[in-house]
């Protein structure tokens, strides 16, 4: 009850603080702070002269606010976004600003605003923020900085405001805006605020222009070494097209008699007509490398950072160099099981990264669903890479079963620290070079440290 009340107050405070930051310039904020301090010290007019500072600051702010309605700023905007951005990497886009009016516009400041999403109270209660360890105990207990960080992260990026000193009448100009995405997935642009500052330079008048748009942010990627030799091919029933569940191989091999179960479209009608018995076409079986990438999304009570790092490692591998004829199966579970195949004219690297950009943690089904899905595809895989969030019994069981099918397995564990408890029946004990433990937050260093040993 108290927590919910606090949470609602936090939301109000956040909105108010956002509102104040937009409406007051740095000088205005300075006068505002001075006003508050003078109010505190000047509450008893017999003790200090701070009440004079208070009244002067109040007078300045009042005059500045009264001057706002006389400001006019009519401009139109267009935004040109790039196809993708990547988490943590600065990205630029263009904003075309046009002044349709007959007067020159001066001292404009544009705030391109992303959609603000407030976490639900129950989600907020469960949230862990890695920044908490840097905060003092009061901030950790109260939780407001955690909420601000969460809102910031849900919004997805911080965008620097654009200053326009002069915009001539009927003129237009292009401004480059930079943003740094904080998370993967879509960033939704909601509106743009065009602000004009009054002559005293304390307050801004705000005109809101709806200007929507979306930008897909791909996961962060690391430099990975080649994990498996690409040449180990496996029989692919029905050839490459069946491998992607679409059509048969196009390499015609021979004709044979019909056997129950053969698809009708395999019937060679001319031979059927000649012979009077159904005859079917046989196609060339294909052999090629096919790697499986099994992504563990079962976050449960673990820190969110683990999943982000797992997705980044998976994306690094999906985007990394592969042999030309190799296929890559991406397997993970979210609200249902997902299986995408890339390579050899199927889904491209961008498509796989797009999919990975939108991976969400799974909370609705047990981990065994991933085991079932992995085993279903294991037989056709040349090798499997399991990116796991833990090394508990269900995950060991998955690896144990995969190895029993004689499939080479590379296990990558994303953990809070590098020290991991490993029981005696650890299925990867005999292959330490194929068992990596990467510490979340220091993935690249860990990979660089491990890679020389595996090559």
């Amino acid at each position: 009850m108290v927590g919910k009340l606090l949470y609602r107050n936090f939301i109000l405070v956040h909105r108010l603080s956002h509102w104040l930051r937009l409406r007051f310039t740095a000088a205005g904020a300075l006068i505002g702070y001075c006003l508050i301090a003078a109010a505190v010290f000047g509450i008893d007019t017999r003790q200090t002269l701070a009440y004079q500072i208070f009244t002067l600051c109040a007078g300045l702010l009042a005059v500045a606010l009264l001057a706002l309605p006389f400001l006019r700023s009519r401009i139109t905007l267009q935004r040109a976004l790039p196809d993708y951005a990547t988490v943590g990497q600065e990205c630029e886009y263009r904003l075309t600003i046009t002044n349709p009016g007959r007067t020159t516009q001066r001292n404009l400041l544009l705030f391109d605003e992303l959609e603000t999403v407030y976490p639900r109270h129950q989600d907020f209660r469960r949230m862990h923020d890695s920044g908490d360890r840097y905060r003092n105990i009061v901030d950790r207990i109260i939780g407001y900085p955690r909420l601000v960080a969460a809102i910031h992260k849900l919004r997805g990026a911080s965008i620097q405001p654009v200053a326009v000193a002069t915009l001539p009448a009927a003129g237009s100009l292009q401004q480059t805006v930079s943003l740094r995405p904080l998370r993967r997935g879509y960033l939704y642009f909601h509106h743009t605020l065009v602000t004009a500052t009054e002559p005293l330079g304390l307050c801004r008048r705000i005109a809101r222009q709806p200007l929507t748009g979306a930008l897909l942010v791909l996961p962060r990627r690391y430099r990975l070494p080649p994990l498996f030799p690409p040449g180990r091919r496996k029989y692919q029933r029905g050839g490459m097209h069946l491998a992607s569940s679409v059509g048969d191989s196009q390499e015609f091999f021979s004709l044979r008699d019909y056997r129950p179960g053969d698809p009708l479209r395999a019937i060679h009608w001319r031979s059927y007509a000649r012979k009077g018995e159904p005859v079917v076409k046989e196609y060339q079986d294909e052999y090629f490398s096919r790697h499986g990438l099994i992504l563990d999304t079962f976050l449960e009570q673990r820190p969110e950072l683990l999943l982000e790092e797992a997705v980044s490692v998976a994306a690094s591998w999906a985007a990394g160099p592969r042999h030309q004829d190799a296929l890559l199966d991406l397997i993970f579970i979210a609200d249902r099981s997902y299986h995408y195949t890339g390579g050899r004219g199927l889904a491209g690297t961008e498509n796989l990264l797009e999919i990975l950009a939108c991976v969400q943690p799974c909370a609705s089904v047990p981990f065994s669903a991933l085991t079932r899905e992995a085993l279903r595809h294991a037989a056709t895989s040349s090798a499997l890479i399991c990116v796991l969030l833990d090394w508990d019994e269900p995950r060991r069981d998955l690896v144990r079963k995969l190895r029993s099918l004689q499939v080479p397995v590379q296990v990558i564990i994303i953990a809070k620290d590098r020290e991991l408890s490993r029981p005696a029946d650890d299925p990867m004990r005999d292959q330490p070079q194929h068992f990596w433990v990467l510490e979340a937050g220091a993935i690249q260093q860990a990979i660089d440290h491990l890679a020389p040993r595996t090559q």
Partner: protein, 662 residues
């Protein structure tokens, strides 16, 4: 969102120096301010800089924080929380190092992580998303201006200088290069609004204080803090005095000659309109063996007696008592504590309480003079000593010096509840003593105490009530809120004596402020007081009900009985004795009780009859009382009452016992 384009730039040349000089002038640190201003402005002309790393900035920031903490602790330990304005005045010193480091550094700015410890940790681990560099010159300027406001110079000049510094600052931060007339017009409008606002703020404070004090007066009782009292010295406007009756004094037929001073407590230290006494410690006063009186000063005599009624708003509180108090009797208090300054704290249930005070006019039994009783607050030391020299008090014997001081106030000063002119903090008494020479009792008492001390006579500041209003309705004296008074105590010839220099016209002046509704309010006050105290004798548990709350119920029941529509059931009315519906005292038993009390000793207010009679039996050797009491209790509490033979037996037993005790 912390856009870089919206961050503050640095101050223009010499603006920080101007801020420092304003502060130095206001707070009497001018020589330091000149030095600091010079050091701060040198980098404007000197190109020499020091490469200061983030770690070194962190150290400087930590040092400034430690300095602030140390200064605050020191000032707090000396002045307690009244020293907050001294801390405010010292702020430019504490943050100076930080500004110095910024101004002489190559970077010229300080990273936020140096100022915020949580950011510092995150920056160390390289996980901080943004760590902007900030310029502290404008914040430091504001610190200087705020600190300057704690000084004690004239208000008008301060406002003019304030406006100039703000104009300079905002001109520098002005967004567009042109538009000078518009900017100037708007700024002047704001400055004029600010100037007008000052008057409004002062009036607002007076109105708020008056309203809040009114609420306090209406809903709560005044509670005296023995450690601290805030005077109305320096308050503007007319002092609002309450008509509410705070204390009632029954002198048992004696007429008060002049005024009777009832003291609540005494203070020793003065500063900025606040009197304090940090030596106020309480010690338990033991009651006499019979539990009826508490002797505060043994062997001090004290045959004079007054009965005082006072309302406690808590389960303990300081009570007003005559000077020269020796003992407190006839009170229901569970315990009584006293300080060396004769502040008496009574522990009792909240509400009206009544007690007898035994006192003597011969002496005031306060603790001997302490070092504080001769010390002058630094801010008034010079002016008080100058006045003492002017009056030639230093070379006079104490008694003559005292007479001179009394004459000085009597001849040169007048009484006034109104203060129309504003003057700076710390100069109120100078203004009172040397210029307008008008004020109320707090001005007189405070100035008298300080002047006595300047003359070498130990003195203290006492607060309480001056009682002189007799109520024919209540047949006792009344002390109202407006009768709250303060006076000086001077230590002469080995004893404390009252020095009340407030002109005697004050009572008449206060009466002039009385409300037209006062008679009606007084009548209501008397009714509630009577209802609240009428059962003081009969309450055995010591928890009196606020009976006045039952008044409407009683009126309603009387009305119902009068109309006769809801009579009690006939069976009950016919069979039950009359005593059932109202207690009819037994004359014989009452006579026996009176005889026993007269002959042996009085029964305590909350003492059960059985316990008391057992004591009488054991001490006086009288037998047969329990049998009488048993019959009496049956007569009073048994629903069937006593049968006629039993009633006759109770009467007979009482008569026999009365015959035995002669």
């Amino acid at each position: 969102m912390t856009p870089a384009t919206t961050s503050l730039q640095g101050t223009p040349p010499f603006l920080n120096a101007a801020g420092l000089l304003l502060w130095g002038w206001q707070c009497n640190f001018l020589s330091y301010a000149v030095l600091m201003a010079g050091v701060i402005e040198i980098p404007r002309v000197l190109r020499w800089r020091i490469p200061v790393s983030d770690q070194e900035f962190n150290l400087v920031a930590d040092l400034s924080a430690v300095l602030l903490l140390a200064v605050s602790l020191y000032i707090f330990s000396v002045n307690t929380y009244y020293g907050i304005y001294s801390i405010l005045a010292a702020l430019p010193f504490t943050f100076f190092l930080l500004l110095l480091a910024q101004r002489y550094s190559v970077r010229g700015k300080i990273r936020m992580s140096s100022l915020v410890i949580s950011m510092r940790r995150a920056a160390r681990d390289g996980v901080l998303e943004e760590n902007p560099a900030v310029d502290l010159t404008y914040p430091y300027l504001l610190v200087c201006i705020l600190a300057a406001s704690a000084g004690n110079q004239q208000q008008t000049i301060f406002y003019v200088l304030l406006v100039l510094i703000f104009a300079w600052s905002l001109w520098w931060l002005k967004p567009r290069p042109g538009g000078v007339p518009l900017w100037l017009a708007l700024f002047l409008l704001a400055a004029a609004a600010g100037y007008g606002g000052q008057v409004g703020v002062q009036r607002l404070q007076a109105a708020v204080e008056e309203t809040i004090m009114g609420w306090f007066d209406l809903f709560t009782w005044r509670h005296r803090d023995p450690m601290r009292t805030v005077t109305a010295i320096g308050a503007l406007g007319k002092l609002k005095l309450s008509d509410r009756i705070m204390v009632r004094v029954d002198t048992h037929g004696e007429k008060i000659a002049g005024r009777m001073l009832l003291r609540e407590t005494t203070y020793t230290d003065y500063g900025y309109g606040v009197w304090t006494n940090f030596r106020h410690t309480l010690s338990l006063v033991d009651p006499t063996p019979d539990g009826t009186s508490w002797v505060v000063h043994k062997g001090a005599g004290g045959r004079q007696r007054v009965t005082i009624s006072y309302k406690l708003d808590d389960d303990q509180g300081i009570i007003p008592l005559p000077l020269g108090l020796t003992a407190i009797t006839n009170t229901e208090a569970s315990s009584i504590n006293a300080s060396a300054f004769n502040a008496i704290v009574l522990e009792l249930h909240p509400g009206w309480t009544r007690y007898d005070a035994m006192y003597t006019d011969a002496a005031i039994h306060d603790v001997e003079p302490l070092p504080e009783d001769t010390s002058l607050p630094p801010i008034y030391r010079e002016s008080m000593q100058r006045l003492a020299r002017e009056l030639q008090l230093e070379h006079m014997p104490p008694a003559r010096a005292l007479a001179t001081i009394e004459n000085f106030f009597a001849e040169n000063f007048s009484y006034s509840l109104t203060q129309s002119e504003r003057f700076p903090r710390g100069r109120y008494l100078d203004k009172f003593l040397f210029e307008n020479r008008r004020g109320h009792c707090e001005y007189f008492a405070t100035a008298t105490v300080l002047l006595l001390r300047a003359a070498g006579i130990p003195a203290r500041y006492a607060v309480g009530y001056a009682i002189d209003e007799y109520s024919a309705l209540e047949r006792q004296y009344l002390g109202r809120g407006s009768h709250a008074h303060s006076w000086a105590l001077a230590y002469l010839d080995g004893s404390w004596r009252v020095v009340d220099t407030t002109p005697p016209v004050w009572a008449a002046a206060d009466d002039g402020t009385a409300s037209l509704l006062r008679p009606a309010v007084d009548l209501w006050s008397w009714l509630t007081y009577t209802l609240d105290t009428w059962d003081l004798k009969d309450d055995e548990q010591g928890t009196r009900l606020p009976l006045w709350l039952a008044l409407p119920v009683m009126v309603y029941l009387l009305w119902r009985l009068w109309t006769g529509k809801h009579r009690l059931p006939g069976a009950l009315t016919q069979s039950a004795p009359a005593a059932r519906y109202g207690y009819v005292p037994h004359p014989g038993f009452q006579a026996l009780l009176a005889r026993l009390e007269q002959k042996y000793f009085q029964r305590g207010k909350a003492e059960p009859l059985g316990a008391w009679m057992a004591k009488v039996e054991s001490r006086a050797g009288i037998r047969g009382l329990p049998a009488i009491l048993a019959l009496y209790y049956r007569r009073r509490f048994d629903p069937r009452g006593l049968e006629e033979p039993e009633e006759a037996r109770l009467t007979q037993l009482c008569h026999v016992k009365l015959g035995e005790i002669k």
